[in-house]
Symmetry: C2
Subunit: 430 residues, 2 copies
């Protein structure tokens, strides 16, 4: 039995989850790992605040130095969130020779390179399984089990909030605003939902997944990002009619050193395993050149699922305390001969919905514009008739983003076209 | 860079897959792991046989001692299959202080305890990721990432052959024999399909999953086992009508030290992620008391997917060559205070299809017999009419196996009942 003492920075949902899991599974932890893990110190903001969990005397502190200066603490777990404060805490912990575990995706997406280098210089471990897809062991699988593969594609539903909203819209036919309001009421979405619904959170996670999967330095700014605010019940209905589900996907691909990185709403085939991922669940689809297609499914958030991942990291760090750490965790976020393909050069299929005046010749003029730009069409749906505008929907074959954008600019100018109501990428899975 | 020399026992599909993957991903392996892995020796039966892959001079051998006696070989990979020969090979390799990797589920299900003890005594590692669900990293996830959890349920589609057959029966309405014939023709099923279609293979895998997940010594003989030969298109149609898919599931649960272990055809809700697992794919659903529900999906067989897992093990072993091995891999298959619940005491819901004469009063008498044994019913479907026998289908609520079996024995005696055509368990997922 080895005693492991940890210091927690932050005692919110996840911090309390870690506490509860250690209490609940004390016997299992000891039996499974030979470790006796205890939380020595917890950094909080306010000692007076009422808490459901009341740690013993001297455990709670408002002074981070008490954790950094405590030589008996081997592992510091950062759960304060945000980036600036969290970064300076982690740097201090590393500076003091402590191993560090974090669940902070924004921090890693922005400063993963820097923190990895610092940890390596000081000879400590940095692990962050909980930063992507909560309790799902996707990072360890990529870093260890799949390390004999060249990873060719990563495609994930990595944001539970938007998946909850899209599932609700699809199931009940409600609009985005109503679904968001319910997600907020149920605690699935924040009061300011920007990070989730505009795709920042998913883009942070894609940055981490791509860095690990493609072993490449990824600059978060290079990830194309589009959220779900523009999705309407009409689009979801058309998707269903055409045999698709609408999901916010984080997609990373690598082909011959060229990387695509994009987060956007996507039509995916209803038979694809990702289409069956409902509500706030997460799933990550990975394709390796030996293993083929894999999918990992589970809870992407919540106190105990996230704690499961944080504790998995604590255990992993503990088992490598006394000898050189596995290379998989000395990842180089930094240099790379690989290039990120600009969005205009990526190729997907597209769903495009126009609102047009119901007049003879409109379909022909639009279709010819597609043809004139070399964009070939796989489906067309024209619906309704009458004096007002009617929807006219096209699905293209796989084509270059720039060709589609150019076509749309031209079609917009046609007199009968009232609106380019939406453009949603269609992921072809072959 | 560290040089790792391995010896392969066997050079069939998986062995050649390992060779191909090392060739194909040499750069990735070195970059991801710092290891230069090479195959020094390969044990085969016949040096004259024509092979697509022709290793260099002196690599192929028909004498296993050349591998056991070669001090430069650190890891022996057993891929000969079968149990007796494979066991004696692994024992010799362990005896010689070599680390061992195997993909042999039958061997582990029957002798896992013995081999684990032997490996521990000699201070070598024994890994077997590829033995369950091929390329899916389910064992490492249970052993490492999820080790802060108490695993409460494991439920898997772990046999690709039967899943292919059931998918085909469901998609095309063909019978078992026709679907099997096609599976054999396509290479998904062996000439003698017993191990797959009668559930032995799935039961072997469940033994391993349960030993690791529940940290308990499981005797393979204690796994209840029933194959898919009795499934008919009629049952599949009723399943679909009732909102279920039919899958051969390997189910393990633990509740308060009591373990259930069973492999049988199962009705599962169409909305459950396992229902979407089609063709020869595998998936394992795991429930932990912290992480909640997880599912791992991918290819359960094939040369490269299996090689991905074998190489993952080789890498894992290599990274722990020079220091104490992680406790997770020193698993104790042997002793356990946990008891396996006898099948007659397990509780599930049931689908039961009778063939009855279409006469007044039959439904009433059968329903009363259920009631008289305390078995309550949730659905009844009566179909067709006429002189011959017509199907009468019941779905029960969750109830004890012994009560259902007793009821059925009584119903069989009723004059109007021609046949108890099938009994299939229905997994309630709450």
């Amino acid at each position: 039995m080895e005693k492991i003492k940890i210091g927690l920075l932050g005692f919110g949902t996840v911090g309390q989850g870690v506490w509860k899991t250690i209490e609940m599974n004390r016997d299992e932890l000891l039996k499974n790992t030979g470790l006796q893990i205890s939380i020595s110190k917890i950094l909080i903001n306010n000692l007076e605040k009422k808490r459901d969990i009341v740690p013993g005397a001297g455990v709670l502190t408002t002074n981070p130095e008490e954790i950094f200066e405590d030589d008996s603490i081997q592992i510091v777990v950062e759960l304060v969130g945000g980036t600036d404060q969290a970064k300076s805490y982690l740097e201090k912990a590393i500076e003091k020779g402590k191993h560090v575990v974090t669940a902070n995706k924004a921090l890693l997406a922005l400063y993963g390179k820097e923190l990895t280098e610092k940890a390596e210089t000081k000879g400590v471990q940095l692990r962050y399984e909980a930063s992507v897809a909560g309790g799902i062991p996707i990072l360890q699988s990529i870093q260890e089990s799949l390390s004999a593969n060249r990873i060719e594609r990563i495609m994930g539903i990595v944001n539970g909030t938007t998946n909850y909203i899209l599932t609700k819209m699809s199931r009940e036919g409600v609009g985005f605003e109503d679904a968001l309001a319910e997600a907020q009421q149920k605690g699935y979405a924040e009061a300011d939902p920007t990070a989730d619904v505009d795709g920042y959170d998913a883009a942070h996670k894609l940055t981490i997944l791509a860095a690990l999967g493609f072993k490449a330095g990824i600059d978060f700014q290079q990830v194309y990002r589009e959220g779900i605010r523009r999705i309407t019940p009409t689009d979801i209905e058309f998707a269903e009619e055409l045999g698709y589900a609408v999901k916010l996907l984080a997609i990373g691909t690598e082909k011959e050193g060229k990387i695509e990185l994009r987060v956007h709403p996507t039509f995916i085939d209803k038979d694809h395993p990702l289409a069956a991922v409902k509500d706030a669940f997460n799933a990550v689809f990975v394709e390796g050149n030996a293993v083929g297609e894999l999918m990992f499914y589970g809870k992407g958030a919540g106190d105990l699922p996230t704690a499961s991942a944080v504790l998995g990291d604590i255990i992993g760090v503990s088992q490598n305390l006394h000898h050189p750490h596995p290379q998989a965790y000395k990842l180089d976020f930094s240099n790379s001969a690989k290039t990120v393909v600009p969005m205009e050069d990526t190729q997907t299929a597209y769903y495009i919905r126009f609102m047009v005046k119901d007049r003879p010749g409109v379909l022909g003029r639009i279709a010819s514009t597609f043809g004139g730009n070399g964009v070939s069409l796989s489906s067309v749906i024209q619906k309704g008739e009458g004096e007002g505008a009617v929807p006219l929907v096209f699905i293209t074959h796989k084509t270059k983003e720039s060709s589609v954008q150019k076509t749309i600019r031209q079609i917009k100018e046609l007199e009968a076209v009232q609106e380019v109501a939406n453009l949603i990428r269609v992921e072809s899975l072959s």
